[in-house]
């Protein structure tokens, strides 16, 4: 493996590591995904993000891809509930409220929160 791709892998791991807390709390606290399933989704998001960062057109620093990771987190949670309910109507109001929110909007909030934490820690 080349030095460049090793560095990129390390960056991916670091960016994901810093975003992990926000991802888990979004899945569990905002979308009410059970812990075990949230863990599975988180693992999938890591694998996906790893490959996503290697696509042509994503050559920018990995940190700039974080909003996309958050957006995908929200979409994954939405897909999860659709799957859980076999695509049918979701009756739980709290879940319905979370699913009605625009993933883009939640992703922006998450990005702001994590970048603020990053700034405070430096």
């Amino acid at each position: 493996m080349s030095t460049n791709s090793t560095h990129r892998d390390e960056d991916v791991a670091a960016v994901f590591g810093r975003a992990r807390g926000a991802i888990r709390s979004t899945l569990e606290a905002q979308y009410f995904v059970p812990e075990e399933d949230a863990q599975e989704i988180e693992l999938s998001l890591y694998e996906w993000f790893h490959r996503f960062s290697r696509r042509p057109g994503t050559s920018s620093p990995v940190a700039t891809l974080r909003p996309t990771l958050f957006r995908m987190t929200c979409k994954a949670a939405q897909d999860y509930w659709l799957w859980k309910h076999h695509g049918g109507r979701i009756t739980d109001d709290t879940i319905r409220f979370a699913l009605n929110r625009d993933p883009e909007e939640i992703a922006i909030e998450l990005e702001l929160r994590v970048s603020r934490t990053d700034e405070e820690s430096t």
Binding site: G57, M72, W83
Partner: protein, 368 residues
């Protein structure tokens, strides 16, 4: 909506990055006709394998476009029907979009413009469903712009290329922004603004050197060699060609290597060195034939015919024209040069090549 089509439970990757690279090589080593039958063994549905395959195919578009098109076409067909669940989240759409983009880009090099257009439509329908869709669609827009350049829609290219370049810069895709500048430079040369075109390509070479992009530097120097030749500065042309040659070899850019050898042939010819010119044209022809760029093959045959007529080798010239004509017919090239083509064919029948018609037909091909 039926829950069965929602991609849960999640499919975790069984293949590591290194294994993915090896798996991709095994796929390439297996004949296309045998792949579907041993898809599981080849990890053909694994996103890591597919990512390595698309990475490798992207670099093959310019080194062997015919191969790249065949491979991308097979993989696209394999992933598209039946509707296979591939990877996670948007990965199926991404791979289908990327493979269609590769196939379309390769078709463009192969002079198959209608086919290229169809692939670009497919790419767009999948790319809109991906994350980072704006960057993917911008990459697609570049290919469409390049196709417009080849179709001589110069006004449209001159208007759109700077806009896309600015867009690529905003997206952080500096090499793509530079590629838009390539199109602008090429159009300037095609519209007779050679001095401005040379200035654009000098800027491209400086920028490519600054960002250490050997691939673009090689293409930039090769193009400058052509432009200096058109401007009559054979010394500068040869110097640029000498600079471009190792860079294009290093990056295995065989499409541009064929064009560069063709250009070197032109330089020698203009210096009055017919033997060296003949050698350079023949090696350009071999390269173009090997990688299947039939438009260039036909054009080089015609150039060779012209040179052989100069050298008084009329019968050999006749063979070169005879080799070019079926390709021109099959690929439906030079529709605008129909009359000249008719005159050339008629002169061939009389076994007395019409030099004016020959040059006119050749004039309808993009310059090497």
């Amino acid at each position: 909506m039926n829950g069965a089509i929602v991609p849960f439970p999640l499919r975790h990757t069984r293949v590591s990055r290194e294994d993915g690279r090896r798996a991709a090589q095994r796929v390439f080593d297996t004949p296309i006709t045998e792949r579907a039958a041993c898809a599981a063994e080849l990890h053909l549905e694994d996103p890591e394998t597919l990512l390595n395959l698309t990475e490798s195919l992207l670099s093959r578009v310019e080194s062997s476009p015919a191969d790249a098109r065949d491979e991308a076409e097979f993989l696209f067909g394999f992933l598209e029907k039946p509707n296979r669940p591939i990877g996670q989240f948007d990965e199926r759409e991404y791979f289908l979009g990327e493979l269609a983009l590769i196939a379309g880009g390769a078709c463009r090099f192969l002079f198959r413009r209608e086919e290229a257009r169809r692939w670009f439509v497919r790419a767009e329908t999948y790319f809109v469903l991906t994350e980072n869709a704006s960057a993917n669609i911008a990459r697609l827009a570049y290919q469409k712009l390049a196709l417009l350049t080849e179709e001589r829609q110069f006004d449209e290219v001159l208007e759109s290329a700077p806009l896309w370049a600015a867009c690529f810069k905003k997206l952080g895709l500096t090499d793509m922004a530079l590629k838009c500048l390539f199109l602008e430079g090429n159009v300037l040369r095609e519209t007779g603004q050679l001095k401005a075109a040379i200035a654009v390509f000098e800027r491209i070479c400086e920028e490519a050197e600054r960002i250490n992009n050997i691939r673009l530097l090689g293409i930039g120097c090769g193009t400058l060699a052509h432009f200096h030749r058109f401007a009559g500065d054979l010394k500068a042309a040869l110097a640029c060609a000498q600079r471009a040659l190792p860079l294009l070899q290093q990056t295995q850019n065989r499409v541009n290597l064929a064009k560069l050898r063709w250009c070197v042939g032109d330089i020698f010819r203009e210096q009055g060195n017919k033997a060296e010119a003949l050698d350079a044209y023949r090696s350009a022809l071999r390269e173009a034939e090997e990688i299947g760029i039939r438009g260039d093959v036909a054009a080089i045959h015609l150039v060779l015919a012209d040179l052989l007529l100069d050298a008084g080798m009329d019968r050999q010239a006749e063979w070169e024209v005879r080799a070019a004509l079926p390709i021109i017919d099959e690929e439906q090239m030079v529709p605008e040069g129909y009359a000249a083509l008719g005159l050339l064919r008629e002169s061939l029948r009389r076994r007395q090549i019409d030099r004016t018609a020959l040059r006119e037909v050749h004039g309808y091909f993009p310059a090497g």
